[in-house]
């Protein structure tokens, strides 16, 4: 199993993601620098980590989405490569257009940093199938721009097609229809604002994230 974590200037969850991937796969992921023009050969799964890539300049995730490595990721994701973006990684994925919508400033204007209960809306997706009958998980959130926005037609389409994977039980940021995580039409690209990679060890306060990584990696 060959995995990769992309490292942007001011990524700050890249090592959390690396620890999570190593814990599940038993192999260290490739840490890939944002100026690289292509992923290492035969990568099975890519994580775009949380953080504040490029200092959140212009818009959160905007500059990262145009970086050389992300161009290669977009090309490969379009052909089916599994990619997940957590927090800033989700913002990057919406900025590339791989996922619809945008993440705006939190409705309450405050940076929200706390454990958040999420409802598993689609437990059949490749990202959640290992949760079985579990209805809720607790992942930490830590963001200022997590307010998910899309037009009504897009929101209806996402819900109808089972592409809303997680919803907040208690919406912390004003996201439309309480949406916390979505996937693309083909089901290989997934983004969420909360941090499953920070919920994989009892010392994190919970281990609900483990099954998410097992779901994704088991599906490859």
């Amino acid at each position: 199993m060959r995995t990769a974590v992309i490292v942007f200037p001011a990524s700050n969850c890249d090592r959390d993601a690396a620890v999570a991937l190593e814990k599940i796969t038993g192999q260290k992921p490739h840490m890939v620098w944002h100026r690289d023009t292509s992923l290492p050969a035969n990568i099975d799964f890519v994580v775009l980590p949380g953080g504040f890539s490029y200092g959140d300049y212009l818009r959160s995730g905007a500059i990262a989405a145009r970086s050389p490595i992300v161009k290669d990721i977009v090309a490969k994701a379009t052909k089916g490569l599994p990619v997940a973006g957590f927090c800033n990684g989700f913002q990057v994925l919406t900025e590339t257009g791989l996922l619809p919508g945008a993440l705006m400033r939190n409705k309450g204007l405050k940076f929200v940093c706390r454990p958040e209960t999420l409802k598993i809306v689609n437990s059949k997706s490749r990202f959640t199938k290992r949760y079985g009958d579990k209805k809720e998980v607790v992942f930490p959130v830590a963001h200022h721009d997590g307010n998910y926005f899309a037009d009504e037609a897009t929101l209806n389409m996402l819900e109808k097609d089972g592409r809303v994977i997680f919803k907040y039980a208690d919406n912390p940021n004003g996201s439309a229809r309480d949406i916390a995580g979505i996937c693309n039409k083909a089901g290989n690209v997934f983004g969420m604002m909360p941090h499953p990679e920070r919920a994989i060890d009892p010392l994190h306060g919970g281990t609900d994230g483990i099954e998410l990584f097992k779901s994704i990696l088991g599906a490859i």
Binding site: A62, R66, E95, M104, N106, L109, G174
Partner: protein
């Protein structure tokens, strides 16, 4: 040649920062302020010679990077 680009949230998209600004102005006693919208201005220094061509290029830049057209609209002014 200069391009001055105004980027802001589209009408209808909730602007929590704008709303906070309006509330702040109300708190200062400016009760005539009903609402505020906040955006940004980007100035580009261009080496282009042709205004029409420059505007076309800046439009492309807005679509590709400077604005997120899911939530934002933009307005371009080209100056000598």
């Amino acid at each position: 040649m200069k391009a001055i680009i105004k980027v802001g949230l589209k009408p209808g998209v909730l602007d929590p920062q704008g709303r906070a600004i309006a509330r702040g102005l109300n708190d200062l006693g400016y009760y005539s302020v009903n609402d505020a919208r906040q955006g940004k201005i980007i100035e580009l220094d261009l080496s282009s010679e042709d205004k029409v061509e420059a505007k076309k290029q800046v439009e492309e830049m807005c679509e590709k990077l400077l604005a997120n057209t899911v939530i934002e609209s933009y307005d371009i002014r080209i100056e000598d």
